[in-house]
Symmetry: D2
Subunit: 126 residues, 4 copies
């Protein structure tokens, strides 16, 4: 396709590419693993910690912080006083370190866009 | 189909049916929610607790115990020293109480069958 | 606990219990497996069919119908014209046949309750 | 930490970073969304297509190919003739195009490593 047109140049895959790619994997994975989990204001913090521990195990993760918005959990609680974890309740920061590149990535619900935006916040190199 | 044959009789839905049905929901739900979660021998216990808390929130659950087999986790750990939670690592007991019926249900991997069997272990009534 | 009070009687586990339990498993499982899947009005029908095929494979399922509400999908579509599958978009009917008991179960979002209610709709025996 | 040492330099986030990051998100997401889904040799192709359709909806995906290894599905089928989708059955290629950067990424089980490796296979620029 495009490659055939001769206009595309194949680049070396850099450590930086791998660092950023790994950060994307972590956010995509945790989001689809944990969305739907039953949660309440009483269990939100503990669930957040369990997600952090789980993400921390994965390759090249140097830190992860998961915030579950208890106010939004409360608003969504049903008559049994729990709800499902949804994107709009999550704010996750992941730091990936691969060789000499550090990537800070985040997923947070953007009210005006109506969906959880995943983005690269910082790329640091030595 | 069968209904048309005139041989099938529609029964009242009993409290007992609801109790057993709810137990099935809990096992099906937790299995498909948490399978695939990154886990290690170091985080197995805490992940088990998080699953227990999550299941406990759901209607009519009176108790839940989650055992994650650390030996199997260890055997499956990759070079990064974690693996994905799989059915063969899980042993979960759930007790549901609905009106005057208590149901004990369990999911545990059956080695000889090669899959995680979910079953009703006890039905108690007053 | 209750068992110790001497007031609880342990019952035989009946085919009917197993039939109803299996119906619960199917609904709990499919819900937590597929919630969060990217979907659009264009792919809703095909995703519904894939879910049906997947549930049909499981033991004792004699039929399953999955409706994904395209109107609700449309309302939730973001700027990229898709959304995540959510409980409020689903209406699923499962029929389980175990020995001589047939159970019809359903999960559908109840607007006034604000959550997807799973229930036993019919129990038929010979 | 590292930032404080004065040795790390914050870089601009490039289109290339975003392209590679988005490719990572897609692989992480699909893996954790669909692992655990009941599948058989008869439904493997259709499930693969449903996953492709679902991934294709997401931002910047220009193509996706999902192969589910029917031989491995067959080997894992239980007495009911189905199994759960597992990492070792999957081979997925995703192409992301963001501005003038095209990224080819893949997840495939590496037998010798014992886990599904996600990697950037190509980065193309204009």
């Amino acid at each position: 396709m495009e490659e055939e047109s001769g206009l595309w140049i194949e680049e070396m895959v850099l450590d930086r590419d791998i660092a950023v790619f790994e950060a994307g994997i972590k956010l995509g994975a945790l989001y689809h693993q944990f969305i739907g989990t039953p949660v309440s204001t009483a269990t939100a913090e503990e669930l957040g910690t369990a997600i952090e521990k789980s993400v921390s195990l994965q390759p090249w993760v140097s830190s992860v912080e998961v915030e579950i918005d208890r106010e939004k959990v409360r608003e969504n609680e049903n008559e049994f006083r729990y709800c499902e974890l949804r994107g709009e309740m999550l704010d996750v920061n992941v730091v990936v370190l691969y060789e000499e590149v550090e990537v800070h990535a985040r997923v947070r619900y953007e009210e005006d866009m109506g969906y959880p935006l995943m983005r690269v916040e910082k790329v640091l190199t030595k």
